[in-house]
Amino acid sequence: MAEVVYEKATRVYPGSERPAVDALDLDVKDGEFLVLVGPSGCGKSTSLRMLAGLEDVNAGTIRIGGRDVTHLPPKDRDIAMVFQNYALYPHMNVAENMGFALKIAGVPKDERMRRVREAAKLLDLEQFLERKPKALSGGQRQRVAMGRAIVREPQVFLMDEPLSNLDAKLRVQTRTQIASLQRRLGVTTVYVTHDQVEAMTMGDRVAVLKDGLLQQVDTPREMYERPNNVFVAGFIGSPAMNIEEFQVADGHASVGTLDVPLSRPTLEALAKEGSDTVTLGFRPESLDVVSEGEGFPVIVNVVEELGSDAFLYGTLEGTGGALEGHQIIARADPRRPPMKGELVYLQVREGEQHVFSSRTGERLPS
């Protein structure tokens, strides 16, 4: 069993007041692909490095497969870091390239060959085992590099933004390869990225960090549909969710002529909090283009046409109040997209708003 447990794991850099990673509690299940994501400086890489043994742990513990590894050197943790950079050795064939680390570690030849063959099968490299790297394509070489990590049969794979060095096309290609590979291998994997789209496509679960604190850990679907707080709501999902603060009165959230009815659970929660303001979020796909009189007016500034989808980026116009001129993003019909400069009317589909406390940012019942 190779589950990974962070228990109140903390890292404070010397001379720093705020922890880079603050009492992180995170359980990664055996065989799970967990993605750590967040903006620059959020602590995701530091958390990974703490797991790798590259970063001191100032408080708390880290366990792999039940074993306390908190103060063990990287070599003794039975992990494999899948690296961005690799050098394939030109005089060795693919099999030797994949297995050389095992040879260095003194693994007997039969065992080495077994592992290399198994990895080659998973990576669709079986027919290339006798070939030299020069004869391989870029994607194939990439897989040989992955093979090196796989043959070590570690308990956990660690990947720190392994795709960031690649051009866009190779990124998407490799992303898919890594995800399907992990599924076939079933090895617990902790993966760091700053790209939330990458996180959402690859992870079994995604952990969002900000300022060293875990914001939420959930499946991509759950994260998308029920973000725990304003930060996660705005961070996850592309294009980003529209998030604004509203006044609460008469069971409605309103700003100027913009008006959204609130449910009873929401109102009860607000009353309990004693707030007369609330933060609402609407995903672009939760806004419909309607006729005048049915929705609120928006001037279209930019239309992004993606073929299968279209998004309009506009500004609120004529609603009055504090939101005048604020940006709003809405999904549009790709077959009949609005024109730049056009005035359209948008309406929030009932029940699709996300409600957050203006005070704490935390999710409220909707």
Binding site: G53, L54, D56, Y89, P90, M92, F100, I104
Partner: protein
């Protein structure tokens, strides 16, 4: 989108390279062939005004990051290739975007390890390469830099009085921290051991490794070399009362290894009867600095150590112990060093650096004298060396390019010695 260049003012001719063409399509007449391993990125070498530049295509964020890391290493005086520029906003004539390019400049007389042996890599060469790498890794770690991909292929080597000095080439996986944790250091060195063992195994597969060299044992040996040197430099010492001489001994040992201690941390224990001393700031280049101060010569560490020995010998022979050290040193440069360097004919100056020539002449003199049973003298040694040894060596300056970019007022190239007027002593 306009071409944007982040660059250190260098050769304007760099701007004339075909930036609107992807690197892998650059015409062969622009390029220089150099041994380079199979890497993920496209890398090409060009020669402009006699200097060799490496051009690498990587995503912009990576290029920028590597550029800054190399600059930081340069400021910390850590041996590495020089960062020259980052070129973004590249576009083909039809408006297709082209990847960002990172430009670095290689050092005069530095060589990739593949160029250091002609047929097979022999044990003594392998040992010297590993020694050089161990020193480089220690210096990187002292500066707070974790390499993340130390290997023979990622390093350039310069001859240093029979040894080698190693220079970092690729900083892409590197990270700079105020201080490295033990886990980081150990990981970096373990990785170096793996990579070097792998490279030696590759040489073996290609029939390029001497039979007596075990690739795995030799490669992993870097770990012990590094650890020994690291502990020597940064380890704690405990001294009792009246044992101050041991502290001085330690400092001198570090000097011999080529390091100066700029700062120590001292903690008194047991009411002052014991002192625990830990070096805190350690700079490499002890001998280089001392020679520079004495003579104005700017050479590498091991070369400097040998030359300083030569000066000491000269001084003893002169029988003038009370004379000012700097004056004796200056005389030595005029009467001993300079004549040797000037004796190298113009057409042979591409082979070795002046200080390395001097070192080899000294060795050559020693061997000839041993065989003859008497000291054959410097003039004979120089003539014999030039005719019998230097003339047959490959051109090493040609492999890479340019004068050392260090902003010291020292002098190092043949041209410096040709001028009638020597620069003044650095006082």
């Amino acid at each position: 989108m306009a071409l944007q260049i982040t660059a250190i003012p260098d050769d304007p001719a760099l701007l004339d390279l075909p930036w609107s063409t992807p690197l892998e399509d650059w015409p062969a007449d622009q390029l220089v062939a150099l041994p380079r391993g199979i890497s993920r990125h496209v890398v090409r070498f060009v020669r402009i005004s006699g200097q060799v530049y490496a051009v690498k295509e990587v995503p912009h964020r990576i290029a920028q990051r590597e550029f800054e890391l190399l600059r930081r290493l340069e400021r910390r005086d850590v041996p590495a290739v020089d960062a020259v520029g980052v070129i973004t906003g590249r576009e083909t004539p039809t408006g297709e975007p082209v990847e960002t390019a990172l430009i670095t400049r290689h050092l005069q007389f530095s060589l990739p390890y593949r160029a250091l042996f002609s047929q097979t890599l022999r044990p003594d060469t392998a040992n010297r390469l590993l020694d050089a790498l161990a020193v480089l890794i220690v210096r990187l770690h002292l500066a707070g830099f974790a390499w993340g991909d130390c290997s023979l292929s990622n390093t350039l080597f310069r001859r240093d009085a029979g040894a080698f000095a190693a220079y970092l080439v690729d900083a892409e996986t590197g990270e700079m921290h105020p201080q490295l944790s033990e886990g980081q250091r150990r990981y970096d060195v373990d990785l170096a051991g793996q990579n070097i063992a792998g490279e030696l195994m590759d040489l073996q597969s290609g029939g390029l490794l001497d039979e007596s060299v075990d690739p795995i044992d030799t490669g992993l040996d870097i770990i012990d070399r590094y650890t020994g040197l690291w502990d020597e430099i940064t380890g704690q010492s405990v001294f009792g009362a009246g044992e101050r001489y041991r502290f001085e001994q330690r400092l001198r040992r570090l000097n011999e290894l080529g390091f100066d201690v700029a700062e120590v941390q001292m903690t008194a224990e047991d009411g002052g009867s014991r002192v625990v001393v830990t070096p805190k700031v350690v700079d490499a280049g002890h001998h280089t600095r001392r020679l520079l101060r004495l003579t104005g010569l700017d050479v590498q560490e091991n070369q400097a150590r040998r030359l300083l020995n030569a000066i000491d010998t000269y001084r003893a022979v002169l029988g003038a112990p009370e004379e000012d050290e700097e004056i004796v040193a200056h005389r030595w440069v005029n009467e001993v060093f300079q004549p040797v360097v000037r004796a190298v004919p113009r057409e042979l100056r591409r082979k070795l650096e002046p200080a390395e020539v001097f070192h080899e002449v000294a060795e050559h003199r020693w061997y000839l004298s041993e065989a003859a049973g008497r000291d054959i003298g410097l003039d004979t040694a120089v003539r014999s060396y030039i005719d019998n040894v230097l003339a047959h060596k490959p051109d090493e300056k040609a492999v890479l390019g340019r004068r050392i970019g260090r902003p010291s007022s020292g002098y190092t190239s043949y041209d410096d010695f040709d001028t009638a007027e020597l620069p003044p002593i650095i006082g």
